[in-house]
C-alpha cells in the first residue's frame, strides 16, 4: 500500500491545533498585516469615491458607448464571480469526493468566495445606471400593471442565480464556522470577546446528536452547492450565449465559463494562500507544500481546458462557414485583413492562461512558492483579459462596418477595476483577524491521515 503524506505536519495534539488556529484571532496584528490593511483600506475608500462619482454622474464616466454597451463593470463582474467558484469547488465538490486535503484550505477559500461574490454583486446593480431602482429586478406586485420582470431573459436568471449563490455560500460558510465560534468563546479571556463569539456561536454545544444533524446538513449543503456553482457560471455565460452576437452565440460557453471560473479561482486561492503562509508561519503545518502542489495541478488542468476552449472556438467559427463568426475570431487574433484593434488583449490572455501555466508540468515549479505566486498573478491577469476579450472584441466589430467603434477606456474604468481589489482585500484581511482561518472542528478528524501512531482507529 502506498504511504500517504501527512496532511498536517509537526505531530500536533488537538490542543496545539486549537492554539495555532486561534492565535491570529487572539493576538494583536503585526506590522505586516497593519501595513497591508492600511493599503487595502485606503484603496477601499478610493473605490467608494469612484462608485460615488459613477452613481452621481452616470455610466457615461466609463468607456461604454454605442457598439460597446457592456464594459468594465460587466467584465469585472464576471471576473469576480468566477473567482468565487473555486471556493465552492473546494468546500462542496471536493467534500463530496472525500478529498481530505480540502479541509486546510476550505474555510479561507469559502471566505474568498463570499467576498468575491459581494464585490461582484455590486457591478450589475450599478451597471443598471439607476441603482436606486434596482428593486425592479425582483418580481413583486407593483402599481405599474403589475408589470412583471421578464422570466425568459438570461439577465433575470442571473439575478436569481447570483442572489441564490450569495445566500447559500454565506449560509454554508457560517454553518461551518459555528462550532469554531464556540471554541473561541470557550477560550475567551475577556468578557466582550466571550459575548461576541457567544452570539456568533448561537449556543452551539457539540453533543453527539447535534453533530449527527450537523454532518447531515453539511452534506446536504455540499450536495446542493455543487450543482448550484455549476449553474451560476453557466447562467453568467447565458448572458452572452443567448444573444445573437457572433463571438457570444456559441454552445461551448457554459462549460468554457465554468472551467475558466475554476481556473481563475484557484489562481486567487494560491495567491492568497502564499500570502497567508507568509503572514502566519504556523499555518505552514496545515497548508503544506502538498496542498499547494495539488492546487497547482488543478490550475494546470483547468488551464488546458480553457486553452482547448479557445482553440475549439476558432475551429467552430471556421467550420460554421458563417462570415461574421469567422471575422470575429480572425479579428480577435489580429490576422491581417481584420482591424485587429484588440489583438494585444487576446495574446495577453493566451500567454497568461495557456502558455505560462505550462511550467507546472515540472514538479519543482509546482512546489516553489515564488514560482506559483507569480504564475497565479499572471493567471488572474489573463482571466480578466479573457472576459475583456469576450466582451469587447465581440461587440466592437459586429455585423455592419458602419456600426463599428472602439471601447473608450477612461480613467474611471481603471479606477473601478483597481478599487474593487480594495474592497475584496479589506474584507479578506479583516476576516483573517476575526474568524478562525482554518476549520478547527474539521481539521481535527483528519489529523491521523498519514501518521503511524494509529490507536484503536477507524
Amino acid at each position: 500500500m502506498m504511504k500517504r503524506n501527512q496532511l498536517i505536519l509537526g505531530d500536533k495534539t488537538l490542543k496545539d491545533i486549537t492554539d495555532d488556529i486561534c492565535q491570529p484571532v487572539e493576538t494583536l496584528p503585526g506590522k505586516g498585516w497593519v501595513g497591508m490593511f492600511l493599503g487595502a483600506k485606503t484603496l477601499l475608500l478610493f473605490y467608494i469615491f469612484v462608485l460615488g462619482m459613477i452613481v452621481a454622474n452616470g455610466m457615461g464616466l466609463l468607456g461604454v458607448n454605442h457598439p460597446n454597451g457592456w464594459g468594465t463593470m460587466i467584465i469585472t463582474f464576471v471576473f469576480w464571480i468566477g473567482i468565487g467558484h473555486a471556493g465552492t469547488l473546494i468546500s462542496a465538490i471536493l467534500f463530496l469526493f472525500r478529498q481530505k486535503w480540502r479541509t486546510s484550505v476550505a474555510r479561507t477559500a469559502e471566505a474568498m468566495t463570499v467576498f468575491a461574490v459581494m464585490t461582484a454583486g455590486l457591478f450589475p446593480l450599478l451597471h443598471t445606471g439607476r441603482p436606486w431602482l434596482d428593486f425592479w429586478l425582483f418580481p413583486y406586485p407593483n402599481q405599474r400593471g403589475p408589470l412583471w420582470v421578464n422570466f425568459r431573459s438570461p439577465l433575470l436568471w442571473d439575478v436569481f442565480a447570483v442572489s441564490t449563490y450569495a445566500t447559500v455560500s454565506m449560509v454554508f460558510w457560517y454553518v461551518g464556522l459555528v462550532p469554531d465560534f464556540a471554541t473561541l468563546k470557550d477560550r475567551a479571556k475577556n468578557k466582550i470577546r466571550r459575548m461576541i463569539y457567544g452570539i456568533l456561536s448561537l449556543g452551539w454545544r457539540g453533543t453527539a446528536r447535534n453533530w449527527s444533524h450537523y454532518e447531515m446538513v453539511y452534506l446536504i449543503l455540499a450536495g446542493l452547492s455543487t450543482p448550484l456553482v455549476l449553474s451560476v457560471h453557466t447562467i453568467v455565460s447565458f448572458d452572452f450565449a443567448v444573444s445573437n452576437l457572433p463571438g457570444w452565440h456559441t454552445t461551448i460557453f457554459p462549460p468554457y465559463f465554468v472551467a475558466g471560473a475554476i481556473f481563475s479561482g484557484f489562481a486567487m486561492v494560491v495567491t492568497l494562500m502564499t500570502l497567508v503562509r507568509i503572514g502566519f508561519p504556523q499555518f505552514k503545518d496545515y497548508i503544506t507544500l502538498d496542498h499547494m502542489e495539488v492546487m497547482n495541478k488543478i490550475i494546470m488542468t483547468t488551464g488546458l481546458m480553457v486553452g482547448y476552449a479557445y482553440a475549439s472556438e476558432f475551429f467552430v467559427a471556421w467550420y460554421s462557414g458563417n462570415p461574421y463568426e469567422r471575422y470575429v475570431f480572425m479579428n480577435r487574433a489580429g490576422i491581417p485583413g481584420t482591424s485587429g484593434d484588440y489583438a494585444w488583449s487576446y495574446w495577453i490572455m493566451v500567454t497568461c492562461n495557456v502558455i505560462i501555466p505550462q511550467i507546472f508540468w515540472m514538479k519543482w515549479a509546482r512546489r516553489s512558492i515564488p514560482v506559483m505566486f507569480i504564475v497565479s498573478i499572471f493567471v488572474n491577469i489573463g482571466m480578466w483579459f479573457e472576459r475583456f476579450v469576450i466582451t469587447i472584441t465581440s461587440l466592437h466589430n459586429d455585423f455592419l462596418p458602419s456600426n463599428w467603434g472602439n471601447y473608450a477606456w477612461s480613467f474611471w474604468d481603471g479606477a473601478l477595476l483597481v478599487g474593487s481589489f480594495g474592497m475584496f482585500l479589506t474584507l479578506f484581511l479583516l476576516y483573517l483577524r476575526v474568524f478562525p482561518a482554518i476549520s478547527i472542528a474539521e481539521i481535527k478528524p483528519v489529523l491521523p491521515v498519514g501518521r503511524n501512531d494509529h490507536k484503536g482507529g477507524h
Binding site: G145, L202, G206, S212, E215, V217, S225, S231, A441
Partner: protein
C-alpha cells in the same frame, strides 16, 4: 430540545475512550446520555444509538416546494397575468423557466435544512450550559442526566473512572 437537567459528567481526554464509554453506557441500557466532543467522531452515532437524521426529508420537501413555487410564480406572471411575446416563444415556454425553478429549488432546500438544523439543535440559544470549556478544544465528555433509568451517581462514577475518565463531576444543569 429537552429541558435542562442536572446530572453527572465524565471527562475524557481520548477520542477512543469516549467512544468506548458511549458504547458501554448504551450496553447498560442508558438512552438519555449525551456524548460531547469538539468535533464529530466517526462511529459515535452507532455507539450512542442515534438514528439517522431526518433533515434530508425536510430538504426534499422544501426543494419540491421551491420548484413548484417557482413554476407557479413564472406561470402566473408570464403566462396568466401578463403574457408577453418574447422572441416568438410560446407563453408557457418551460425551458426558459428552468433556471428560475432550479435556483429556487436550491435556495429553499438549503435554507430549510439549516432551519431544521437550528430547530433540532435548539439553537440559537442564549447562554448555553457548559460543562467544561475544553470540550470545544481537546476534551470529550459523557453526560448522564438524573432522569436516566438506573441513575446512581456513585455507581456511574466508578463505572466511568474504570473506563479511563480523567474526572467525573456533578453538573447543575445541561
Amino acid at each position: 430540545m429537552a429541558k435542562l437537567m442536572p446530572g453527572l459528567a465524565a471527562i475524557f481526554t481520548d477520542e477512543h475512550q469516549v467512544l468506548e464509554a458511549a458504547r458501554k453506557s448504551r450496553d447498560l441500557g442508558m438512552t438519555k446520555f449525551e456524548a460531547i466532543s469538539p468535533y464529530p467522531i466517526h462511529g459515535m452515532e452507532d455507539a450512542c444509538g442515534i438514528k439517522r437524521s431526518s433533515i434530508p426529508y425536510v430538504a426534499f420537501v422544501a426543494g419540491m416546494t421551491g420548484l413548484l413555487g417557482a413554476l407557479a410564480l413564472v406561470w402566473y406572471t408570464s403566462v396568466y397575468d401578463w403574457p408577453i411575446n418574447v422572441g416568438g416563444k410560446p407563453p408557457f415556454s418551460l425551458p426558459a423557466f428552468i433556471p428560475i425553478m432550479f435556483e429556487l429549488t436550491v435556495l429553499f432546500a438549503a435554507l430549510s435544512s439549516v432551519g431544521a438544523l437550528f430547530y433540532h439543535c435548539g439553537i440559537p440559544r442564549v447562554d448555553p450550559p457548559t460543562i467544561d470549556p475544553d470540550l470545544t478544544c481537546h476534551k470529550f465528555a459523557i453526560f448522564v442526566p438524573e432522569n436516566e433509568s438506573g441513575y446512581e451517581a456513585k455507581k456511574l462514577e466508578t463505572f466511568y473512572k474504570s473506563l479511563g475518565a480523567e474526572s467525573v463531576k456533578k453538573v447543575e444543569a445541561y
